[in-house]
Symmetry: C2
Subunit: 142 residues, 2 copies
Amino acid sequence: MLKISELAAKTGLSAHTIRFYEKHGLISASERSEAGYRYYNDADIRRAEFVKTARNIGFSLEDISQLLSIRVDKTSHSCQEVTDITQHKLDEVNAKIAELESMQHTLSILLESCCGGPEKATHCSIMEALEAGDVKKSRSAA
Amino acid sequence: MLKISELAAKTGLSAHTIRFYEKHGLISASERSEAGYRYYNDADIRRAEFVKTARNIGFSLEDISQLLSIRVDKTSHSCQEVTDITQHKLDEVNAKIAELESMQHTLSILLESCCGGPEKATHCSIMEALEAGDVKKSRSAA
DNA sequence: GTTGACCTTAGAGTAGACTCTAAGCTTATA
DNA sequence: TATAAGCTTAGAGTCTACTCTAAGGTCAAC
């Protein structure tokens, strides 16, 4: 049985974050001492590590919440439910990458166009491009 | 001279956003009617479009603020200052892309490993991988 | 002269994931 | 026994970039 700071040390999550996750239903301590201290057993620890792993991959707390409900009763859920969550996340990631690559492209072109030297910015080609507005739109509404 | 909704129509920013930008010092109306209505002249409009362009590229409002101070007095600033901001943004974008590509990679591997079918999730390989924690860390602290 | 569209302000709300604070117990160590 | 480290809670603050609301003034058209 670990205390919160020990679980923190073990998982690399902060004690604050563990309490935050508890408030949001992701993690809980199956026991409390008389003084109210949280005590985590092996199952709790595995759950916390599951959360940590999923978070590190990039899943949102909402996604993790869904994955956890599958986890506690795997026989009531299908592989498809799991792949749906994963695919959805991958779609999001791909969309974000595309957006960032567009920014990357624009920024690279701007950088190539400018001398970058100690010259006064009076005729800076980056500034000129921004003035002219002749740059692609990289950002989506998100 | 345009009223705020006209500037909104012209730039594609909402009137709300224009007021928000004003509050943060990015845009202002050089004139006000007696009733307090904002009126934008050509210089104001060009500034608003500059902001819009920079935002679309992906610059933060803080970045844009710096670019604007260079813009109003180009002789006091060098090309290097402009490329520094741009390069810094590009570095950020590249870092974010790397992080997302790592997530993309992990998610793709997870998806490949799972049948994704109507089978019960009891032996779902995605769940197993999350349990085992044997996935790369994709997320940085940011 | 009234309707309706448009403008004003300060300030609150949204999203996501923490992060910290204050005030006060509890526990371990010297 | 005193001190420090660690725990508890509710709740506020952080960050970015908006987005919206309420309550009210203004303006053009019919």
